[in-house]
């Protein structure tokens, strides 16, 4: 691990002041960053500890919820209002990592965790994320866990978060603060597709800090869920996951929210599937057609083409489950 300096921030302004300058990184629970530093993939010159920032989870005026970026994954999943109003978020978080890691990991850190592409972690391999322009050994390598949507010739890595898939489905907004002032970004617009610059993973500006995440009021999200398909029953990253909320009027889909995990460089909001479903009867045939619409642009690599059908089937299964619940 490369030497670094450390400072603990007392508030957002303090953190942003200390977080300016090349090589500064914000440190939450450390569950990903410390590991990457030990592997010498990350080598920050300065760590600004932001675990002292807001951990509050509070109702917003007019409905919705504001989540302090330093709130732990466990506290968010266990929060009574999350369990009742946004079960998809509670289940997504609980589907991820282990009890120990969920206790350490912060909401801000979960959003900014980096890919678990094995070639990214292997410094003997070529990786355009680690060394821009070096090439990608995953594209023609062992790529069973890699992306089927939105990938580029430069990178086929996936974003590993479960929580973010639920946040994308729920139209969450990320509240940022930084040297140039405060602003907001939709969660679904925070992460980038790889394009030619897979090393630039988010739209965050230098020194910008995630301060909070806002969930809008979405009454029908009380009927929502998350399903994660993985190689073992617990403590594994997703091959494919689906976050969904379904609003039915009789048997007609009045509204729907759908997002996929494990398939792309970012949490994948399935807008094509949503559009295909609105106003249609909630039938298995229509769920299948919506899944086909979303996956029509999917591209399989040598080892991961199974994910395309897996994603379709998981979408159909999850929507079917929610339709049953609501009937």
């Amino acid at each position: 691990m490369t030497p670094f300096t450390y400072a603990r921030a007392t508030g957002p302004a303090d953190a942003i002041r200390m977080g300016q300058g090349d090589g500064a990184k914000y440190l939450g629970g450390g569950t990903n960053l410390v590991d990457l530093m030990r592997e010498t993939i990350e080598h920050p010159a300065t760590l600004v500890d932001v675990t002292g920032l807001s951990t509050a989870i509070e109702p917003l005026d007019g409905g919705g919820l504001r989540i302090g970026a330093a709130a732990s994954n466990t506290s968010l999943a266990a929060h009574p209002q999350v369990r009742e109003a946004y079960p998809v978020l509670a289940r997504a978080i609980l589907a991820g990592a282990s009890g120990q890691i969920r206790n350490m990991a912060t909401v801000g850190g979960n959003i900014l965790q980096r890919t678990r592409c094995t070639y990214f972690y292997d410094d003997a391999a070529r990786c355009n994320k680690r060394a821009p322009g070096a090439g990608c050994d995953a594209i023609d390598g062992f790529n069973r866990i890699h992306a089927i949507l939105g990938a580029s010739p430069a990178c086929v890595a996936t974003h590993p978060s479960d929580m973010c898939v639920a946040l994308a489905a729920l139209d969450a907004t990320v509240r940022l603060d930084g040297p140039e002032g405060a602003r907001e970004l939709p969660l679904a617009a925070l992460h980038r597709l790889p394009g030619a610059r897979p090393d630039v993973e988010t739209e965050l500006r230098p020194g910008e800090l995630i301060v909070a995440v806002d969930l809008p009021a979405l009454p029908f999200a009380a009927r929502s869920t998350y399903r994660k398909v993985r190689d073992r029953a617990s403590y594994a990253f997703a091959l494919v996951s689906v976050a969904a909320a379904l609003d039915l009027e009789g048997n007609i889909v009045r509204d729907v929210r759908l997002a996929l995990g494990g398939v792309a460089h970012k949490p994948w909001r399935a807008e094509a599937a949503e559009a295909a479903l609105r106003g249609k009867p909630a039938t298995a045939e229509n769920f299948r057609a919506a899944a086909e619409a979303e996956l029509s642009a999917a591209v399989g690599l040598r080892d991961n083409a199974f994910k395309i059908e897996l994603a379709r089937r998981t979408i159909v299964a999850v929507l079917g489950e929610l339709a049953e619940v609501q009937a």
Partner: protein, 168 residues
């Protein structure tokens, strides 16, 4: 830096890169917590911080100054084993014993989580105020602790006997 470990205040001057696990083992002489994978996958390094279980290998020690840290060395009361330790002996909850300190600390933290009503991915009813520590809940909640000897049946039996109202 000042640390509070098993109720005792301790001073240590350590490099900022030192993990909480290395602090405990190499600087404070508490070698009960084990280094298995050193990347958060195996749980052998699990300790309690302010009653909450964490992987000490992924924790930078500097972040844990002045927090109440409990390691496996802090579980027994003198010569009297913690009930969970006694149950591990009774149920053969180990073979080589390397994962045991982490299993013990993790199970104690896990029992506290379920007592506080923290759900898991196998909890069917998220609105339930009390969640039974049944077989599926116990195994899901302990999935962050690996045992390469495969003593899981004994581990589950020991944790269930200690913390569950019904056999898991």
């Amino acid at each position: 830096m000042r640390f509070i470990v098993n109720g005792a205040s301790m001073e240590a001057q350590v490099d900022l890169r030192t993990s909480l696990l290395d602090l405990l083992r190499d600087h404070l002489g508490l070698t009960g917590s084990k280094k298995g994978c050193n990347q958060g996958a195996c749980g052998a390094c699990t300790v309690l911080v302010d009653g909450t279980r964490i992987n000490s290998c992924l924790a930078l020690a500097v972040q844990y100054q002045n927090r109440e840290i409990v390691t496996v060395e802090g579980l027994a009361e003198g010569a009297a084993l913690h009930p969970l330790q006694a149950a591990f002996v009774e149920h053969d909850g180990f073979q080589c014993g390397y994962c045991t300190p982490g299993q013990l600390c993790s199970a104690i933290g896990m029992a506290d989580e379920i007592a506080r009503g923290v759900p898991s991915i196998v909890t069917a009813d998220l609105s339930a105020e009390t969640i039974p520590l049944d077989h599926d809940e116990l195994r899901e909640r302990m999935s962050g602790n690996l045992c390469r000897c495969g003593a899981y049946n004994g581990i589950v039996a020991a944790i269930a006997e200690t913390f569950a109202k019904e056999p898991a």
